[in-house]
Symmetry: D2
Subunit: 469 residues, 4 copies
């Protein structure tokens, strides 16, 4: 679990979704569920509810706990809800992209939200505009809504399934009409979506930690290509596509998801610890202590320590009281040595040979800073070990991995990189090691090997230049 | 100028628009312009700008001075802008209806905002939905945008004019593309819209006070049915309709507009003073002092005092420090006598026969309170004089006059009403008197005489039950 | 009633006090009472209450409606309270000076607040420090508390009266112990303090408008030199000094107090109107309209208009939505003509000979701006008439009249001043005229004639350089 | 490092102090220094600075990052500063107790702040009041200020030293005059205070983490009974008492201090890890995993895991996005299973025998909740191991350990307690074990053994009923 807001690393999850059906105080429970997935996005959040008669919505920029309060939650009536947390893009695309969207239509209003990225969105926009559609956001979510309404299917489920066939890319959609909740995943299963039960109702969520948070019981993952429809008659499952495969985003394990979430049956903390163990096997080094970069690399560091027999130490501290409103140190202050988010622990690292475990390297600037700080605090050696392979290609499926140009491993070999970040040695976990650590699950590892599971419709160089979710 | 937010009277203006073309710091100037029209709506506000390349937008719920700050204004780049202030509906329709809207389209994005009300909006929504449109708000503004894009005209101005023909009702629209500002009024000229100059640029505004505020010079009013197009080549005028007429909303003079604004060449303060004079002629009464209800009735009270020779006195005070965040007195506090917004001045009214001038009576509750407070403070007699005719019918053109059932004059005769509010006598200005006071301008006085200038498409009983602008 | 916060004039009231005894929800009523005196100071505010067992306090910087809310008011238990509003000093002396002070003492805690200024405070501080006292503010209020505790009197009332004898200057003190409320005025009666009744309880207030606000009935003014003690046994009155006289601050009538307040039996609006009438007699001029500077000069303008027969017009508008959080126009914006607080009404003043009534001139800069704006809007002539005499000396009694150097009338004759502000003529009300208008009440007019009713202990040049209350 | 604000455990540090001398932007650096000690208190914070001419202060209720901003920091001029963070008392004693205090005195103003608790404060207050002192807070800090000024010593350092002799209890004081910074510790050294260097200046701080945060180099701890005076001539050391001893609060190691701080030369994380190791030796148990309660017990859990050879697992997660403004789950929500701060990780603990390491048990309610949550998530056994001895007595030296009645170990034996919290076994670290783990430093362990190093002046039952710092 990492506060992407205040981390200077350039790897960002894009969004999380949460839905609930047939449970009293659906908005309040959505609040807690979304709160537990705050790490997936802090730019904005919203909830749409239904009391079987009307839909109600509230959304705004900011974190869950600031956007919602007792007053506005109490106006979100009903026992059905969908909600969304949205990641902060650089461009600050603003309020218009905060989800869920609430579409008004004489045949029935509906709420819609989305985690992922549609790769053929430009083509679809053009197509829809030619039929008279106009858009009020840059979000892919709106495209899906227009497809549903432009379609010729009169049955809503059929219209949804027909529309999904147009969409290429990664998605987990939640759609709420006044009486029905729909949940669906793309045919490669790139983004996670799980389903659980609470009392007599149902809960769907990007991560299972949200189920645990509200006391719901995990039932199963929604499958690639599956459309789950929940209404008064219970759960109904069908598939919009036949050629499905399991290609869960590896980064969900490595970096994004909370350690207490399970993905495809594998706990995230456990997966990371296995990565650390594998890394210790692949790249041992003589040293005094193992240190993890808080918070996302701690599990891997324990794994490395256990496997290597070298003691794990708390050599780096994360400040818990930072936040959006914080006064950042000026350059003059930084030069004085003022630190804000991460502080090495002098007494622990001084005079020691340190193995520093991080989960990934994107631009390399954070790594260089960490190594420099450790050495300044007296570390004799810093051996950097990365618990995932080098990122050599951008993501097209909803992860902001920075643009191609900024990916340091796409532009620099291992030795050069080691020198650049000032480490005494550097090693990345191998692809095979990662596969093994993750129990050979079906994974998307395109950012490590350019093996994209879908067509791309655009160039590597263009990836991640907008801020879609 | 009245703070409709905190007034318990039930008469509400709905929105104001402001636009600027070819002036540096367009967003900043829009901020001041909108601020001067804050009395037209306090629910929400927004600005969309263009720097000839891109459109930028920011909007939120709240007053101008809270929604905008140096940081977000500086992101609204460019020398072209449109902005909007929105009135607070009871239903709290929320953020989705705050304007301007910013529509994304491959043929060019555009911003759009609106003052008024479209009476055939339900019919148009149905029509557009049948062609595949979906809506994200309950605002009429969105309908106009869809009409433009659904139309077959390839030239933008032609598309606008074609679309306007579909719209029945009252409107003043501002539309901004990356290089052009369009301003248009309905064919009855129900809502005001003026144009002025500032340096080498142009300014359009619902009220002329916004021109004065930023140092712009008034040029002329936009005419009923006129579409003004402002681009690099200057101003271009054309008409979308031929059967135009002047039917300016009389309430703009009586209540809504700021006293320093001019409408159709007549200053609002002057108009109100003339109403007061006319009222003194029509309904003289022996008394000691003339008192106006602050702030909107002060001008009429001066006029009455001058004409009657009875001295004007400050017999009622309005508290300047109230506001949205204020703790309202509980019922127990009110029973103790705690007053918040309006306080009678005991020393001025005690032992006096008071002529109390108000601009209008909607539900009658405020009037009853005022009379009671004056008597409690020792007034011997209270003669109520209203500087406009009785409101007997709801407005369909963007004024929230309460529903038909709540209009006291629609349901009660003069004597009964006088008794109900506890006044010693009561008189309303006649329609003829109002016409004369307003120099026989072409006016819409439908709320006084049911003489609606358009078809209505719905029943009197249904008016003002939503919160459109 | 004037918003000193946002007025660029340099005349500031310093503080208001409010107290209540034996009325349920004393804190809530204090809130409304203080709110009605918000014009006397916006820097900070506080309330101390007693439930006969304990004292409770809350205070902070800011306006009444922002500092207090339901949550903190509900913690201020009891049926006894004192409260304070404090004026904003330039120096931003901050939280430490916000009142009431709450002193902890084993013989009983007490709350204390104060309107006025002690002229021998430096001498008293020195004396007290020599006896071991230390201070935590720059407020005179603290001095009085130390005097009480340093004194040898064992009876609290005696200790108060003994201590008051040390104090030279202007004051209205309220002091609350757990069971008794004390209210006292200096022996010249420089600052106002009235007493009223509400149900079975008592209310004391700097202005009577606060009594009206909460439904209390005015009983009488507390007299110069009087100490009123209110406890379970009722009201007890005594005097700490024998050589008392009536020297009420003339500025309370001219500028500070709300028009609906009565001071020494004379209503403020009425007093101002009489000043306007007197001014019309002393300084008539041929012109078309009379215009007052909102809000404090409107009454005088009506009086001038009535006496002269020249019509009063609303030639200047004050923006009601300004406030502390407002984005001030930059210099560039000002040069464009952006106005914020006061706007002339073009249609009213254009082509007219205007008599502009203001209540006073301090530094002259506001006057110059007003004249310039009117002429820019087309006024043919601007004749300035000031409803009080020239201010030629600073105040030592709690009014921030700017320093001696800044007082334009102390440094410039009438003709020079007229030229400087750009008016076509300029006239001040005479001292005799003011006396007559105010019914020959006993007044302090030291700022007009240097006739100070007390010793000063410092030089004219030193006045108003701190920010005491 | 633990967020005491939102932890439901009942053990609270009371305050932290920070000072800086002869470094530019002293206020800004104090901001960062205090921010790094935010865990020591979140109720309020303040900074007083000196530019050698004047003292400047700002303080308010709330966290460092909310109380300060660029605007108010920039007004705190000078190269000398002291600052304070204050712990949140239940009683909400409010603004009056927020520090530093800024005392005004003709012989020179001074700022003063304090961590600790004076046990004879009632006696001293009475004594001072008998000499005429009055107090404006319930803080011990004010007592010290009065003692200094009541004393007969003319030299300031002598006055300080004389005054310190009156004070019985625990304290670390910082005092700033316009040109000198004084830092002093009580003669038992109960509360920590370290000194470091930055450029040519000096830094003093309750914890060394604040030195690291701003890039300062640790020099040494201030000694029990020492008074350090820092002025233009450098550092001057002297002692106010001769019978000094080392009795550092053991809880600083166990719970309060940040893991990256060093106390008396021993790193806190290292100390905790040693406690964990010792605990594993004293109380081994057969189990599958070791889990620590985040954040303060993680180090002990690592130590236990290493020593026992049982793997450490992340079996419990702390939500990073909680905060003061958070909407707490209602009882109904809690019953549904909604968790906020701590969540067990189902996949990690399910089917496992868990050793749960916590740093201490105060009331026992948190422990019971944790055990219940783990079992609900499928843990087969939960063996609780506490890395410190049972707390059987309250603290009188500035730690809020709850009242005597609430201390569960003061009222219940081990077996009964084990049953009450529902654990399968329970063991506390022995006193001897703790001593050994902390390298036999001189410690105050009164809360474990009632061996108080000072007289108490009050009864055990009275401890921690106020909220002093």
């Amino acid at each position: 679990m990492v506060n992407t807001q205040f981390d200077d690393r350039s790897l960002h999850e894009e969004c999380g979704v949460f839905g609930i059906y047939n449970v009293q105080e659906a908005a309040q429970l959505s609040f807690y569920g979304l709160h537990s997935m705050q790490h997936r996005g802090q730019e904005g959040t919203g909830i749409v509810t239904s009391d079987s008669e009307n839909l109600y919505g509230h959304k705004n920029e900011g974190q869950v706990r600031y956007v919602f309060n007792d007053a506005n939650l109490s106006k979100l009536k009903g026992d059905k809800a969908i909600g969304h947390v949205r990641y902060a893009t650089q461009g600050g695309s603003g309020l218009m992209n905060v989800q869920p969207f609430l579409f008004k239509h004489s045949t029935g209003d509906f709420g819609l939200c989305h985690n992922g990225n549609i790769v053929n969105s430009s083509q679809l926009r053009e197509f829809l505009e030619s039929k008279g559609s106009i858009f009020q956001s840059t979000s892919d979510t709106e495209i899906f809504a227009h497809l549903i309404k432009q379609g010729r299917q009169t049955n809503f489920l059929d219209a949804i399934k027909e529309s999904l066939l147009y969409l290429e890319g990664a998605f987990a959609f939640l759609l709420l009409t006044k009486d029905t909740l729909y949940a669906m995943r793309d045919k490669n299963g790139l983004r996670p979506l799980s389903i659980g039960q609470l009392d007599n109702g149902y809960v769907v969520s990007s991560e299972t930690c949200a189920l645990d948070m509200i006391g719901a019981t995990f039932t199963r993952d929604i499958l690639p290509g599956e459309v789950v429809m929940i209404n008064q008659e219970g759960i109904h499952s069908s598939f919009y596509a036949k050629d499905v495969q399991h290609r869960m985003c590896a980064m969900e394990y490595i970096y994004f998801s909370r350690p207490d979430s399970d993905i495809t049956g594998l706990n995230v903390h456990t997966a990371r610890k296995q990565c650390g163990r594998m890394l210790a096997q692949e790249a041992p080094v003589e040293a005094d202590i193992v240190v993890g970069v808080p918070d996302s690399s701690l599990s891997a560091a324990y794994g490395y320590a256990e496997e290597s027999g070298i003691p794990y130490e708390m050599g780096m501290i994360k400040n818990r009281y930072s936040g959006r409103t914080f006064i950042e140190p000026t350059q003059a202050m930084r030069e004085k040595g003022v630190k804000m988010k991460l502080s090495p622990v002098r007494s622990v690292v001084s005079g020691k040979r340190v193995i520093l475990i991080d989960d990934s390297i994107v631009r390399g600037t954070t790594s260089a800073n960490l190594v420099a700080m450790l050495k300044q605090m007296g570390a004799l050696e810093v051996h950097m070990r990365i618990a995932s392979p080098p990122i050599i290609a951008p993501c097209f499926y909803g992860v902001d991995t920075s643009t191609y140009d900024e990916l340091i491993s796409a532009n620099m070999g291992l030795d050069e990189l080691c020198e650049k970040i000032g480490a005494d040695s550097l090693y990345f976990l191998s692809e095979a090691g990662l596969q093994k650590a993750l129990n050979n699950k079906g994974l998307c590892m395109a950012c490590f090997n350019k093996n994209y599971p879908t067509e791309l419709y655009s160039k590597l160089e263009e990836a991640n230049k907008d801020g879609k979710c």
